[in-house]
């Protein structure tokens, strides 16, 4: 395999050129969504209680994080009869605190902030409104009335890492992070561990689009595409992205190079144009909708008592997608999943 690799790099890895030694796009296209709907018959009745949710910068329509949160709160409104209001901060995110404050003074007794960027602001506001319940996705706030909704992204990343290692013929895979934040590094850590689990000899190339503080890395598809192209040209045949909207560039690069890509947050197979579907190996699914829905439910049943709620493989908050049928050995992944659930494997977070 290593001989193959050198030949790939020395002829410069012509993009679009197929090489016998690399995984190519062989997936099926046109499959429908198979996710099951949120909620169950036993869910409590909120009888019109007011729940507010503030999105992360980027807002609705990102087909990822925010849309997923929206699905969760919408399902809560439908199944549990709560009154909901969703807001979106301005482009720089300078009015997160104001929006939460507005909801709190407007009689919203539960407020959800989507994204760790809410942490500092929420800490203050939770103190100002001690009788309101707060929840933060991806964050921890040390206030008795605030609950952190955390995900074991490393577990899901571990599994897609394993899938990548299985699929890689070149024994070389890549990772594209949007912004080098602590959160995205967790994805990286899990992914690397998953790869190593299958084959310690597989190399992982890691690229971040922008350093922490410059959040344009989550919304610059051109950067995403060029970077992914660079990875594919370097010989990587599977690339996992945790780069938000920049990920669309990664998928395009995968299609152009006829290699594989892994989606993130939701099942991205369902979001890309049909022509790109065959190149989506799998997606690391992070059920923000589940987290939001669960938090509302806990609130209604009086179970929202501060601290954190962890969403992981065990409770279905984290998962991986199988659509397109590209994963070489799904059974092995299910097996690994079970081992993680059983605590036999502990996935590192850094």
């Amino acid at each position: 395999a290593s001989k193959d690799k050198t030949s790939t790099t020395s002829n410069g890895g012509t993009s679009g050129g197929t090489s016998a030694s690399a995984a190519t796009c062989q997936g099926k296209t046109g499959e429908k969504d198979t996710a099951k709907p949120l909620g169950s018959v036993g869910d409590p009745n909120g009888s019109g209680k007011k729940v507010g949710l503030v999105f992360d910068v980027g807002g609705r329509g990102d087909k990822s994080f925010n849309d997923s949160a929206y699905n969760g709160i919408e399902a809560a409104a439908k199944n549990m009869k709560v009154t909901i209001k969703t807001l979106e901060p301005d482009a720089s995110g300078s009015n997160r605190a104001e929006l939460m404050r507005g909801l709190a003074t407007g009689g919203y007794t539960m407020i959800i902030g989507v994204g760790f960027a809410f942490a500092d602001d929420m800490a203050k506001i939770a103190k100002d409104f001690p009788n309101t319940k707060f929840a933060i996705v991806d964050g921890v706030v040390k206030q008795p009335n605030t609950t952190g909704l955390l995900f074991a992204e490393e577990q899901g990343s571990f599994l897609v890492g394993a899938a990548a290692a299985q699929a890689s013929k070149a024994k070389q895979v890549g990772f594209v992070g949007g912004v080098e934040t602590a959160l995205i590094k967790k994805f990286e850590a899990g992914y690397k561990a998953g790869v190593k689990q299958i084959d310690p000899n597989v190399k992982v190339d890691v690229k971040y689009l922008t350093p922490d503080g410059d959040f344009s890395g989550f919304k610059d598809p051109a950067k995403g595409e060029t970077t992914a192209k660079g990875l594919y040209a370097n010989g990587d045949d599977v690339v996992y992205h945790a780069a938000g909207l920049s990920g669309t560039g990664v998928f395009r690069a995968a299609t152009a190079a006829d290699r594989l890509a892994i989606g993130v947050d939701s099942n991205q197979y369902l979001q890309v144009p049909p022509a790109q579907q065959k190149c989506i190996l799998t997606s690391m699914i992070k059920r923000v909708d589940v987290a939001v829905y669960t938090a509302v439910k806990a609130y209604l049943t009086g179970g929202l008592k501060g601290g954190t709620l962890m969403f992981d493989l065990k409770n279905g908050g984290i998962d991986f997608a199988t659509q397109g049928g590209q994963i070489p050995d799904t059974k092995k992944l299910e097996d690994l999943k079970q081992q993680i659930i059983d605590g036999k494997i502990t996935v590192p977070t850094t």
Binding site: D90, G93, G106, D120, D138, P211
Partner: protein, 366 residues
């Protein structure tokens, strides 16, 4: 009178134009403007406006200093980011009596901003590199340097499960109190959750310093002369190169203060979320709106802050908050057009005055 009428007229034009946009897109302009006028003048919105106006103002002044001598400092963006990080880190590293602690933080910020801004100044003075290019490039580089410094040297140990990377918190002596208690003495009682930040005083101080420096000192005269007519300034004894470096340094020193408002008030530390991006570009718009005049910039900053602050009530009412950004653009354009009309009228008046002062020639009729 005309000078006051112009901005008012401009705002009216901007309102009318955005009303058309709203109508065309099936929204109700009356609802939007009603919310702006009523909710936008409620306490929360006013507090939010004032808190925002401070950084906008300082950024506007930083840009205006450059404009005063035809230097286009697009680099405020990078200057304040770097400065805020280093000042926050310095503030967390030391403990001093209250006023001194704050002073040290502000001075570190100013020094950092000045040093980062001197780079394009020196490049222009010694190598003729256009400051437009170099500040654009240095903005990007500042982002990288900030991330590097924070990541490698300055970040606080992370809490379990937290993802926010920031410096360690600044001690209480290094922070600005909220003004709520103070203005309660004036009979204005703000809800505890709406904190009016004392950083507005820094903005006022910057404005006063800007005015004195530019209009009352020899240095300011040299600066304005260089902006108005560089070759005449040089012939009058101004060292053009030193002036470029000095102007960039002062602009950068003010820019250094732009990002500290949240750091010293609410957050108490630097994180990439407390110090938001884009303030440098806002500063350009605000400086231009205010025609580089200390009070004009203040009006511009307040107007800008108002438009930003009403986004929250608009969003709360489910109205299209994006209209505020459109209005901001429209206001900038219509204000300058209105000023231009005023300028032409004034010039006409001046010319006729001049003519009247001259001896009138007799009219010869054929």
């Amino acid at each position: 009178m005309l000078l006051l009428a112009a901005p008012l007229l401009a705002v009216a034009v901007a309102v009318a134009a955005s009303a058309l946009v709203l109508l065309a897109t099936g929204n109700s302009p009356s609802k939007v403007f009603w919310v702006m006028a009523v909710k936008g003048t409620k306490t929360e919105a006013v507090v939010s406006m004032l808190n925002r106006a401070g950084p906008y103002y300082i950024s506007g002044v930083a840009v205006a200093i450059g404009f005063k001598m035809n230097l286009f400092n697009i680099g405020v963006e990078g200057q304040y980011r770097l400065a805020a990080l280093l000042a926050a880190a310095a503030g967390a590293a030391v403990t001093l009596p209250a006023p001194l602690h704050v002073l040290v933080i502000l001075l570190v910020a100013m020094a950092t901003g000045a040093l980062w801004a001197v780079i394009p100044g020196l490049l222009k003075a010694t190598r003729g590199v256009s400051e437009v290019i170099s500040t654009i490039m240095l903005n990007a580089v500042a982002g990288g340097v900030t991330a590097l410094l924070l990541e490698q040297y300055l970040k606080a140990p992370q809490e379990q499960g937290g993802y926010t990377v920031g410096t360690r918190p600044i001690g209480a002596s290094g922070r600005f109190p909220s003004l709520n208690a103070a203005i309660a003495h004036l009979g204005i009682h703000l809800p505890a959750a709406n904190r009016l930040q004392a950083y507005i005083f820094v903005a006022v101080a910057v404005g006063v310093a800007y005015h004195l420096l530019v209009w009352r000192t020899r240095f300011g005269f040299d600066l304005r002369a260089s902006g108005s007519n560089p070759s005449a300034a040089e012939a009058s004894g101004v060292d053009a190169k030193r002036m470029i470096v000095a102007a960039m340094a002062i602009s950068g020193a003010f820019a250094g203060l732009v990002g500290l408002s949240q750091v010293l008030s609410e957050a108490g530390r630097y994180t990439s979320d407390t110090v938001i991006g884009g303030l440098g570009f806002t500063g350009i718009a605000v400086a231009l709106l205010g025609r580089n005049h200390p009070l004009g910039i203040a009006l511009g900053a307040l107007l800008w802050a108002f438009m930003d602050a009403v986004q929250t009530p608009l969003a709360n009412e489910g109205l299209p908050k994006q209209i505020t950004a459109i209005m901001q653009g429209l206001i900038v354009l219509s204000v300058v057009v209105a000023y231009e009309v005023v300028r032409r009228t004034a010039a006409r008046r001046e010319a006729s005055e001049l003519r009247r002062a001259m001896p009138a020639p007799e009219v010869v009729r054929a």
